[in-house]
Amino acid sequence: MSTPAPPTLTVADYPLSTNRPELLRTPTGKPVTALTMDAVVSGELTAEDLRIAPETLELQAQLADASGRPQLAANFRRAAEMTAIPDAEVLSMYNALRPRASTAAQLTAMADRLESTYSAPVSAALVREAAEVYGRRRLLADDEPEDAATAATSPDAVTPAVAADETTPGSPS
C-alpha cells in the first residue's frame, strides 16, 4: 500500500460516499464503485469487501479534525490501527481491560503486542495509560475490592449489588 497520501480533506468533502468516492477503497483494494449488485450476485464480493479500510478511517479522522472534533478523530485513528486485529482478539483485548481482569504485566504485554504486532501505537498508549490508572486505583487483577462485603466484581452478576427493584440501571434501551 504505497498510494500517494491523499490531500488533506475539508468539511466540504463530506460525505465522502457522494463527494469523494474516488478516495474510497475496500480493505481488499477494490474501489467503492465496484460494490455493485452484479458483483454481489456473481459472488465476486465477500464480507471482507464491506469492511472499512484503515485509510478511510484516516480520511474520516481528517474530517473530524476539520470539524473541530479532536477526540472523535483520535477514536478514528485508534480504529484505523484496530482494523488489522481479528474480531476475536479485539473482544479478548476489551475483556482484558475490564476492572481487575489483568495484572500490570498483562496490560503491558498487551500494549507491546499492539505496538509490535499490529503497529498500533495510539491504542497501545491507551492501554499503558489504563495500566497506570488501574495500578493507582487498585483495579489490577491482584487487587482485592476495597470493601469485600459490598463490592460486586463479577461480569455476570445476577443481582446488581444494590437496589435493583426494577430493571438494572443503564439497561439497554
Binding site: 467503492v32 472499512i52 477514536n75 478514528f76 481491560l97 446488581p160 437496589a163
Partner: protein, 570 residues
C-alpha cells in the same frame, strides 16, 4: 432487641373531591423527598464540588477542587481526554452566567459556544445549567443540537420474539418516519433471526433506515461486524468509579470498545443517564446531574460520536424528586453542548399520567433533538422488550396531532392505512421469501396475512419456537452476513429491498455514518453534523418546519375537508 408493634390506622372522613383526586393516575406515580447527602437530588446540591481547574506543563493538575494525586478514574479520564487543556483556564475564567447567556443568545453561534464548553470542568458545566430554567434549557437545545434536522428512533420488539412481527412493525415504523430502529430479545438465542427481520423490515419501510439489536457486547458486536445490524448504542457508562466498576467496565475499556466499533465501520453511541448511580447505591453524595455531566465528558473524551441520555432506565428516580425532569432536560442539553449526538430518552415507561408523559417529552420535542425518543415503541407496550416506552403505537395519532398543533417536527408523520398495509404485507412477504431462501423456518401465508393486519404479538399464529431457535443457531454457524441477505433478497425477486440493504452496507466502507449524528436520508445521503450542521441563529433561522414537510405533517387520520365538509381530507 427489636419489637415491632402494629401501627394504629385512622379512618378520618374524606371529601368526595379528595377521592376523585386520589383516583387520578398521577397518584399511582411515586414521589420522594430529596436527600442531597446521599445524592438523591436532581441538580441543586450543596454537596457537589465547586468548579476549579489548574494546569501545569500542559497537564490538568486540579479539577473541581481535587488535586491530581487524588483523582479517581473519572477525574483522570476527563482531565486527560475530555477537557481542552489549551483553553480550559480561559473558559473557566468566564462567569457561569455569561456562558449560560451565550447558550440562549441567538447572536452567539453554536461554534462560539463549543469553543468555550470544550474547556469546562463538570462542576462548571453544572454551575452553568443550574442557572437555566426549563425554557432556557430548551432554547439552548434548539441551538446546540448537533444535527440541524431532528429525527426519531423506534423500538421494534415482540413479546414472543416473533421475527415476523419485528419485521412488519419495523417496516411500518420506518414508513412513519423513524430514522433508527432498535430491537432486543426475550429469548436471547432468537437474536440472529430478529436482527435479520429488523434489518430487512426496516429497508422495506424506507430505504436507509439504520438498525441495531441490543445484546451483550460480544454478540452485539458480532452481528454488527457481519452487517446484520448497522449501529450500536447499549454501551453503558456511569458517573462514579465504584458504579462503573460494578458494571465491570472502566473508561478505558469502553474507549477501546468504541474504537473497536469504528474499526468495523459501525456507528456507535454510549448510554448513560441521571439516577443510575444513586439507584445503584453509590452516588458518592453527588447530585444526579453532576454525575451525568461526568458521564457526558467521559463519552466526549472517549471520542465516541454520541450519547443516549435522558435518564433512560432510571427515569423513575429523577422523575420522583423535585426538578428532576428539568435535570433530565439539562442532561440532554449538556450532551449537545459537548458537541455529541444526543438520543434524548423518552424511551422508558415513565408515568401513569398521560399528562405527565407528555410534559416530560416537551423539552425534547419542542426544540428538537438528534433523536427525540431514543426508543419510541413502534409496537404496543405489551410487546416492548425494553420494559415499556414513554410512547407506543397507541400514541401515534396523539403524537402526530401535537406536531400539527405546535408546528414542530418530532420525526413522525401520519400515513394512510392502505400504505401501511402495503408495506406491512410486503415486509412479511420479503421475510417469508428470505427465510425460505436461507433455509430458515417457514413463514406461512397465514402468518403473512395475520402480520399485515395485526396490532400485537397476540394477533399472530404461534411459531415453532424449537425450529426457530435451531434456525437462529444455523445463522450463526453458517456465518450468514448482510451480503447473504442482499443475495437472498435479489434472488427472491425483491430487487429494490436488496438495493436498499446493499446501499446501507456500502456506507460502512465509506465511514460517513461514523461522523457525529449521522443518519441516512431516503435517498441514501449521509446527513450529519458536518453537512447538516445546526445553524440556528434566532427567529427565522435553523431548522424550520415548512414547505413540503409541513404539508405532510398537516395530515391526520380525520380532518374535515374545507371544500366538501361532508367528507374528510384523504
Amino acid at each position: 432487641m427489636t419489637a415491632v408493634a402494629p401501627r394504629p390506622t385512622e379512618q378520618a372522613r374524606r371529601s368526595l373531591r379528595t377521592e376523585a383526586l386520589e383516583a387520578r393516575p398521577v397518584n399511582l406515580d411515586g414521589f420522594v423527598e430529596e436527600w442531597p447527602e446521599k445524592g438523591l437530588v436532581a441538580m441543586e446540591s450543596d454537596f457537589d464540588p465547586q468548579p476549579s481547574v489548574r494546569v501545569a506543563d500542559g497537564v490538568i493538575t486540579e479539577l473541581d477542587g481535587r488535586a491530581r494525586a487524588d483523582f479517581d478514574f473519572m477525574d483522570s479520564f476527563i482531565a486527560d481526554h475530555a477537557i481542552d487543556v489549551a483553553t480550559t483556564e480561559a473558559s473557566m475564567a468566564l462567569p457561569s452566567v455569561q456562558i449560560a447567556r451565550m447558550l440562549i443568545d441567538p447572536g452567539v453561534s453554536r461554534a462560539e459556544v463549543i469553543a468555550v464548553t470544550r474547556g469546562l470542568t463538570p462542576a462548571k458545566v453544572l454551575d452553568v445549567v443550574k442557572l437555566m430554567n426549563v425554557v432556557e434549557i430548551m432554547q439552548g437545545m434548539q441551538k446546540m443540537r448537533a444535527r440541524r434536522t431532528p429525527a426519531n428512533q423506534a423500538h421494534s420488539t415482540s413479546a414472543r420474539d416473533n421475527p415476523l412481527q419485528v419485521a412488519v412493525d419495523a417496516a411500518e415504523g420506518a414508513l412513519r418516519g423513524f430514522a433508527e430502529l432498535e430491537t432486543t430479545l426475550g429469548v436471547v438465542r432468537y437474536a440472529p433471526l430478529v436482527a435479520i427481520a429488523l434489518q430487512v423490515g426496516g429497508q422495506v419501510g424506507r430505504g436507509g433506515v439504520l438498525t441495531q439489536c441490543a445484546l451483550e457486547e460480544a454478540t452485539e458486536l458480532e452481528l454488527g461486524m457481519r452487517g446484520i445490524t448497522a449501529y450500536a448504542e447499549t454501551i453503558s457508562i456511569y458517573g462514579t468509579e465504584s458504579v462503573f466498576v460494578d458494571g465491570d467496565d472502566t473508561p478505558w475499556s469502553k474507549t477501546f470498545l468504541a474504537s473497536a466499533y469504528a474499526s468495523r465501520g459501525i456507528k456507535m453511541r454510549f448510554t448513560s443517564g441521571t439516577g443510575s448511580e444513586v439507584q445503584m447505591g453509590n452516588a458518592e453524595g453527588r447530585s444526579m446531574l453532576y454525575l451525568e455531566i461526568r458521564c457526558i465528558l467521559m463519552a466526549k473524551g472517549a471520542g465516541v460520536q454520541g450519547l443516549q441520555n435522558g435518564s433512560i432506565s432510571c427515569i423513575g428516580v429523577p422523575g420522583a424528586v423535585p426538578g428532576g425532569i428539568r435535570a433530565v432536560a439539562a442532561e440532554n442539553l449538556v450532551a449537545s453542548m459537548m458537541d455529541l449526538e444526543c438520543a434524548s430518552g423518552n424511551d422508558q415507561s415513565f408515568s401513569h399520567s398521560a399528562m405527565r408523559r407528555t410534559a416530560r417529552m416537551l423539552p425534547q420535542l419542542l426544540p428538537g433533538t438528534d433523536f427525540v425518543c431514543s426508543g419510541y415503541s413502534a409496537v404496543p407496550n405489551s410487546d416492548n422488550m425494553f420494559a415499556g416506552s414513554n410512547f407506543d403505537t397507541d400514541d401515534y395519532d396523539d403524537w402526530n396531532t401535537i406536531q400539527r398543533d405546535l408546528q414542530v417536527d418530532g420525526g413522525l408523520r401520519h400515513v394512510r392505512e392502505p400504505e401501511v398495509l402495503a408495506v406491512r404485507a410486503k415486509a412479511a412477504r420479503v421475510l417469508q421469501a428470505l427465510f425460505e431462501h436461507l433455509e430458515l423456518p417457514r413463514i406461512t401465508d397465514e402468518e403473512v396475512e395475520a402480520a399485515t393486519y395485526a396490532n400485537s404479538s397476540n394477533d399472530y399464529p404461534f411459531r415453532d419456537v424449537l425450529a426457530d431457535l435451531t434456525g437462529a443457531q444455523q445463522v450463526m454457524d453458517r456465518g450468514v452476513t448482510g451480503l447473504d441477505l442482499v443475495r437472498g433478497l435479489e434472488a427472491t425477486g425483491f430487487h429494490d429491498v436488496a438495493e436498499n440493504l446493499l446501499t446501507v452496507l456500502r456506507q460502512r466502507v465509506s465511514g460517513d455514518l461514523l461522523q457525529t449524528a449521522a443518519v441516512l436520508t431516503a435517498d441514501f445521503t449521509p446527513l450529519s453534523a458536518i453537512n447538516d450542521a445546526n445553524d440556528y441563529a434566532g427567529p427565522g433561522t435553523g431548522y424550520r418546519l415548512q414547505g413540503e414537510r409541513w404539508e405532510e405533517l398537516k395530515k391526520l387520520r380525520h380532518v374535515t375537508s374545507a371544500t366538501d365538509p361532508e367528507t374528510e381530507v384523504d
